[in-house]
Symmetry: C2
Subunit: 715 residues, 2 copies
Amino acid sequence: MKKIGLAVLFFLMMGQLLADDGHQLWLRYDPVEEEALRADYISQIQNFNVPGEGATFDLIREELGLGLEKMLLSEIAESQTEEASLLVVLSDHTRVSRSDISKETLSSLGEEGYLIRSNEQNQILLTANTPLGLYYGTFHFLRRLQTRQSINDLDIVSVPKVETRMLNHWDNLDRTSERGYAGFAIWDWHRLPDYLDPIYAEYARANASLGINATVPINVNSNALILTPMYLEKVKALADVFRPYGIKMYLTARFSAPVQIGGLKTADPLDPAVANWWKEKVDEIYEYVPDFGGFLVKANSEGQPGPHDYGRNHADGANMMAKALAPHGGKVIWRAFVYSEENPEDRHKQANDQFVPLDGQFEDNVLIQVKNGAIDFQPREPFHPLFGAMNKTNLAMEFQITQEYLGQATQLVFMGPYYKECLDSDTGIKNKNSLVSDVIDGSAYQQKHTLMAGVANIGTDRNWTGHLFGQSNWYAFGRLAWDPDISAQQIADEWVKMTFGADKKVEETIKSIMMESREAAVNYMTPLGLHHLMATGHHYGPGPWVSNLGRPEWNPVYYHRADKEGIGFDRTESGSNAIGQYNKSVAKRFSSLKTCPEKYLLWFHHVSWDYQMQSGNILWDELALRYQQGVNQVRDFKSQWATLEGKVDDGRFEHVRMLLNIQEKEAIWWKDSSLLYFQTFSERAFPDGIEKPKGTLDYYKNLRFPLAPGIRPQW
Amino acid sequence: MKKIGLAVLFFLMMGQLLADDGHQLWLRYDPVEEEALRADYISQIQNFNVPGEGATFDLIREELGLGLEKMLLSEIAESQTEEASLLVVLSDHTRVSRSDISKETLSSLGEEGYLIRSNEQNQILLTANTPLGLYYGTFHFLRRLQTRQSINDLDIVSVPKVETRMLNHWDNLDRTSERGYAGFAIWDWHRLPDYLDPIYAEYARANASLGINATVPINVNSNALILTPMYLEKVKALADVFRPYGIKMYLTARFSAPVQIGGLKTADPLDPAVANWWKEKVDEIYEYVPDFGGFLVKANSEGQPGPHDYGRNHADGANMMAKALAPHGGKVIWRAFVYSEENPEDRHKQANDQFVPLDGQFEDNVLIQVKNGAIDFQPREPFHPLFGAMNKTNLAMEFQITQEYLGQATQLVFMGPYYKECLDSDTGIKNKNSLVSDVIDGSAYQQKHTLMAGVANIGTDRNWTGHLFGQSNWYAFGRLAWDPDISAQQIADEWVKMTFGADKKVEETIKSIMMESREAAVNYMTPLGLHHLMATGHHYGPGPWVSNLGRPEWNPVYYHRADKEGIGFDRTESGSNAIGQYNKSVAKRFSSLKTCPEKYLLWFHHVSWDYQMQSGNILWDELALRYQQGVNQVRDFKSQWATLEGKVDDGRFEHVRMLLNIQEKEAIWWKDSSLLYFQTFSERAFPDGIEKPKGTLDYYKNLRFPLAPGIRPQW
């Protein structure tokens, strides 16, 4: 144990009088308060030895020292001998080669996997083929203590199922953040490269603790300035910080960059001068960042330039960039979110229409990054039909972690169940591995490269994510990118213990709120398959009545299609037939009112107000009761949270308490305004149990939030 | 002493392994490490008693408990008896009335002053007429310990010399900040009123510790939205947080608000409907904030609407608002920064031209807020001639704390000497109290209301001010607003001890850097009275060559007027005669090349390149050597700072180290580009001692920083 002067102790104690601000995320390493368990841990971890040189090894030693000491309230000495009770070594170490671990097992670990085993010498051996693998294993080991699991008889092998596990930051170079609700971008481009904000390393560490190994720090609506030397210097400085943590740097690339910063007259991907410009630009980037990951591209979507501007297709554009990157091992990540403002077709269908014909035409190092659903990160969406429709293309997942349509940073919504709902969907492909997750992890079609991307919810707010519980979504995304088969329940369990400690009452209460939170949000915003009803631009709050925007598909009325007869978007054969893009078994299930899950009912069908639901209610009553249920659920979260006063530190308790009050107001706002509006079509009374609306429909229609965050303000 | 479990101790210790981030400002209350002194303090402060109810009393008890315990490493008990060794009581307490403190003395304390006296009972008595006075006295008392002063035989009376001590935040409602370099605005308007970020209370406490008692949280380039009910709810919530800390809420008022949000056709101040609209709006505001302070108005300047739009003058506009506020005790603060883009007159003269004729016409509750100099917060400016030119008007000071023209957040510039240079200037009025500070504190003309405002440098950056040393400027402003007669040296001494501790070596080194830092910045940016040479828009870096902007006075060439013969702006009788606006004795001194201080030489005179300076050098050589000296000074700061490694915690050491590297680069950039440019006029070689420029003039001219912070980005 360290000798600590009284002075120092008091000094330190005083620093803690401030309420907790949540900045430490899930890496708090709060003490194991259960004495017996702590004693057991200590008896098994007398000391640790991490032979190895280099920045990542330093991080491993630092993390182990910090984590063990904080959790075990005892200094766990770093030993210089391989007899230490915890040994962390590369797989070429003699201790490993002399062990009974097979070469095949070691080989299966690849570049990032790890193995943790209790050996005969009463020693815990953590090994991997790379320092990064050891670093990941270190976080795994510490997590066992954080979640109060046994460390007896360990026999763990963990290898990531997805190759690239990436955050996408929709952050502009001026630090504003499109769809950011946690303040502003953490990237202080102005003071880079010479000023390295400590947050960059903290960010990299937090990601590494989840196995996230790639980042795109700038917006897909890209600024070509990032590709100029002045900014590449800054990119290099960031990449240098990230490298020891295993975080690879990618950039977004504006398709028109050859014109904007290259002085060319065209950005036509089939023009040799354009291809050459990109080749030289890529070569230049690799001089700054030798392990540069590649480009993420949003092309011909929502006004962004792209190959269509020159009569070329997405494969022409992506392949041109891919060829420039291939010699360096770089990749192109091409987004499939490409609806066109000029195309009258159901927006739901446009990605498939454009990409399915290109299946097989993309270079090996191109990945197509597909949003989880075909519209746009709605509170609930069926899985994107592309996932069952291309088998000769590297398909990748794009989830949104930032809660653009899910209450932004004022609502508690745990997205574990959301991600799982998509990953666990059966695509109907003829394959024993037919789930969306099987497509994503490559087990369905053995695609060469795999990727899961999450649109980050990280900003300058001290707690990183605006709402403290936004941290759980970052956590859930990272864990699922490593292994899409983990359950949402397990993720919630881990996160709660790591974030709030292992008090049973606290743990159960918070998990209960979390696991119900996404259904609550769907209920008070868009129940029964309704979607895209949010207010214009900022998407803050309800706007189901909006019908005056320039293009049909910009308007919520396009999506709900309420009329005197009923409500919902007919996407069956009698309607847009978007269902026809799913594989047969799936299409069949969604097509029939009888077999279509009610949660997707109004997504795929226009249904009459008096349609009989499974509950026995008619549709109108069911819809109204769902809205009310959403409000009631939030009230229940408030009551549950209130019981934690004194059990959660004041800072975090009060933070969540205030936000739940806002969430209740917002839920009521959604319920009142939506029901009053839909009632103008249904012309039916509210069923029993529906609270009287607080305002009139006109009142709600006239609310304006010109400065709501997440887009460049318009006022 | 508290009983602290081992577990808790270790837990706390671990939290401190992270490097210090500077968030605690000057309120760290680090332990008094000198054992004897600490023992002496403890012997005199056994316990404290603060009888009194209410929010401010709670703050006093909290601050004393925290501060004493942290500094003395010993729990100083709160006693319930007035025999306590430290007694903090209102002046109507029997202990005070039975003491020998005279009624006159107590009366002189007013609403905010305090008295601290060691009495015969070996007791330290802190008294005041209000809880706020006691709160201010508490910070004073704690500061004595922080700065290692004796607390024997105390006999202190302190009363603020300026009535309103105010921060102006140039923060927009979307959280961008005009001239903000520390991230973004701390005001999260979107989540107000229901979410109260803990930063609001921290902000109020920090200000209260300096005696700052008023704030304007929004930009003088104002948005009328702030005056609508939705935002007034938010304003009320903030004001409620601030109230116990003695911080009064003011708002900026957009002159055209009656049209923009009131539905009127005009904002003519003489239109009865307009006056009535403001009266009703003011009444409404007071319903939300019963102790609302009043309006800060920027009118008819840089595109802002104002009374001139209707053929009225500033008094017409200000008085109309003043009459609406008067019944509630509110004030109008009307800015004198009113140059017009259509007026060909030397910008230096326009404020006097407009305001001097109105002297005596303003209502009692109007203050005219005047920038320290007549141009715009330049690295060095002579004092504003208005300060000697109006004696029947409430004149107030506007200083800039944010370093718009002084290196923004990448340069260490302590502004104590800057503020003092202005406050200590003799205005030449015929009065024994003839300094600028005498005008500001009312001693020159007994003006009814007094005010000192500082344009804040506070943002979302964890250390509040972007550059850690920006904290010293917030501190200096606050201390001088309370008492303009404190010296810059004393302020530096206090701030360093409170921020970095009392280690002699650390203290002397940092003070030495601070006290020289402003002269260094003047040297490498605008020596010898040069001014307004910064790049366009964002003002980041040099742009002395800029000459293509729409109006003459937008261009740096307007201000330096370099030609083959010489350099400088002739403001004598042979030129614009701006000097004629100063009182006679001052004008005489500035007019003559012999008596004009060389620091103002090129501000007031166009001087030939071979003019003989006091140093013996010709002007060209002197100018070049000053630029070089500035660079050399920054290098010296770097060397001095390097000696503090291990004596200042790693976090703050590294922060400043990186920023000093940037400052050196920026100083060289200023020197190289300015000298190369001015050399095209002087056509003279550089004297010995000037380092060869790193780039060519063309290189420097072509640098672009479209996303430099502090204005809404243009790219």
